[in-house]
Amino acid sequence: MDAAFREQFGELIIISFYLLLLLGLGLAASRLFRGTRNDYLLASHSIGPFLLLMSLFGTTMTAFALVGSSGEAFNVGIGVYGMLASSSGIIHSLCFFLIGIKLWSLGRRHGYTTQIQFFRDRLESDRIGLLLFPILVGLVIPYLLIGVIASGTVIQTMTSGAFPEWFPTSDPGTNGGVPNWLGSLATCLVVLTYVFFGGMRGTAWANAFQTIVFMVLGILAFHVIATRLGGEQTLLENLRKVTAAVPEDKITRIDMSKMRFFTYLLIPLSVGMFPHLFQHWLTARSASSFKLPIVAHPIFIMIVWVPCVLIGIWATSNLIPAKPPLPSNPNAILPFLVKTQTGPLLGGLLAAGILAAIMSSLDSQFLCLGTIFSNDIVAHYYGQEKISDRGQIALARIFIVAIVAITYLLSLFPQRGVFNLGVWCFSGFASLFPLVFAALYWRRLSKAGAYASILTTIVVWGLLFFLSDFGANREFAVTIGWGEKVVETMPVATIFLFSLVAMIVVSLCSKPPSEQTVGKFFSAVSLPKGGLQIGHKSPTMGDN
């Protein structure tokens, strides 16, 4: 392979090889498929600690972890780590500990596959499923779109120059690259194939593999970019030289609102309500499988985020070559630096790492939405007992194909504001956190209280979303003032508060759940030793 060929097609060949490798992995996982619905959707509850850690981490670290973290650091500086990463290290593990283990136990005992099944049962309400269904799907779809669009952007940026005559663009950073629509299509087809054939086991394997890939290659990118920008002999000298050239506002939080930073702490609570994480939790072989993810998750976040944040702030330094110019889209900063500061081989590998982060979230979300459609709508209303195990697998697969197709088609429309929608999706899920927490720890939570919480979330979320110009105003905040002092808070704080108050007030004023339901959910399970005592008294929520 001569140098010119390598230069032109190097990244494309490596990306293609990586995608084929993933296909192989998914198909290999499918060879272990036991042919049952439980195996397809929940891997027969066989996932051990290591695979659970990797799949939970890979699922929670979306396109935003690599591409968005460096882009946001480029925009606002190091504060993005505290706002999104260290907070998640505390709160995500908190959710695994308090919500994940408990839901896993109840799921194993009562045979749940989806969140909606659990809420229908706990709240003694069939219609709660119909209310939750469009909300959960509606909040996951933009999240999926971000991944699909980001994969197209990464592939186009990284393969620029490969086909200048076939795919010319006016932007030198993407000229000749595989077009967005084609890159997104390839990504969707690869993810679809291993989810379709491998089900949850294929998804978990692929997630574990991809998590290793993006962690290793992220660190490699950090080392290579520092070396190229610094041009000194040792890594430490390079790090010192590059960081010293970063403007002051990027190594501090001078321009960041303290109250917004504080209220951002609520955003990671969204993990407690993600439907795809619910399904991942249920795959655990035992409660002990959760121990490793709970402890290692904050460290893994640090390993991925610290290098990405540093790369993002380096891009603001005067050591960045003037040509080619930096992309106007902050989310293209990392792919751009990888492309311009590394060779084709490493560039291709690092592009594969970025795609790995994106796809390790897409797969779980596709599988989860397929499961919700087939399980909570079709099988539930048609009658689960009327559909054979194989029939239910076929149904889930049909819905997975449909969701991938719909998401891909939606990604083809102009999506100017889709990246801004990310934080609104997280805000919606986070505001439903009180519901799942109370469902597990507050015996007095009633059906009416749950409806009140969900409806309040919809109304307040909708109102604030409208006021933010449908997410277009990225600086939108809820301002609170007393006297001359005015503070800005994240919208999630307001939605969360209203949702919580509505749930408590209406629950206390309405008919409590039946004794049978209380007995089913609160008497059989003892929770943390010396900790939260379910069935007797909840120190968090008080007596019944």
């Binding site: 190091i78 500990f97 136990s105 005992r109 045979g111 010192r240 943390p528 900790g531």
Partner: protein, 80 residues
């Protein structure tokens, strides 16, 4: 008592997360690491240590299901 310690430490960690004291500090530790970023990396490490203590000291007992899956569908009990 153990649970009180653990949950108090979790609350304390959340308080320490709001590091107003490093907000405008532009020092570079080891010559390359912004002090605010290093501090929050430390918060991540502290979180891991705290969760290790939590699973060691207040891990839920009796959480593994002892009964087999209920025969009836969970959906069958919902309201009409």
């Amino acid at each position: 008592m153990k649970k009180l310690w653990i949950w108090s430490l979790v609350a304390l960690l959340l308080v320490f997360h709001q590091d107003n004291w490093f907000w405008t500090d532009e020092r570079l530790v080891f010559g390359f690491m912004p002090v605010g970023l290093l501090y929050h990396a430390g918060i991540s490490v502290a979180a891991a240590c705290l969760w290790f203590a939590a699973i060691y000291l207040i891990w839920p007992e009796g959480i593994e299901p002892t009964e087999t899956r209920e025969q009836q569908s969970p959906q069958g009990k919902a309201e009409a």
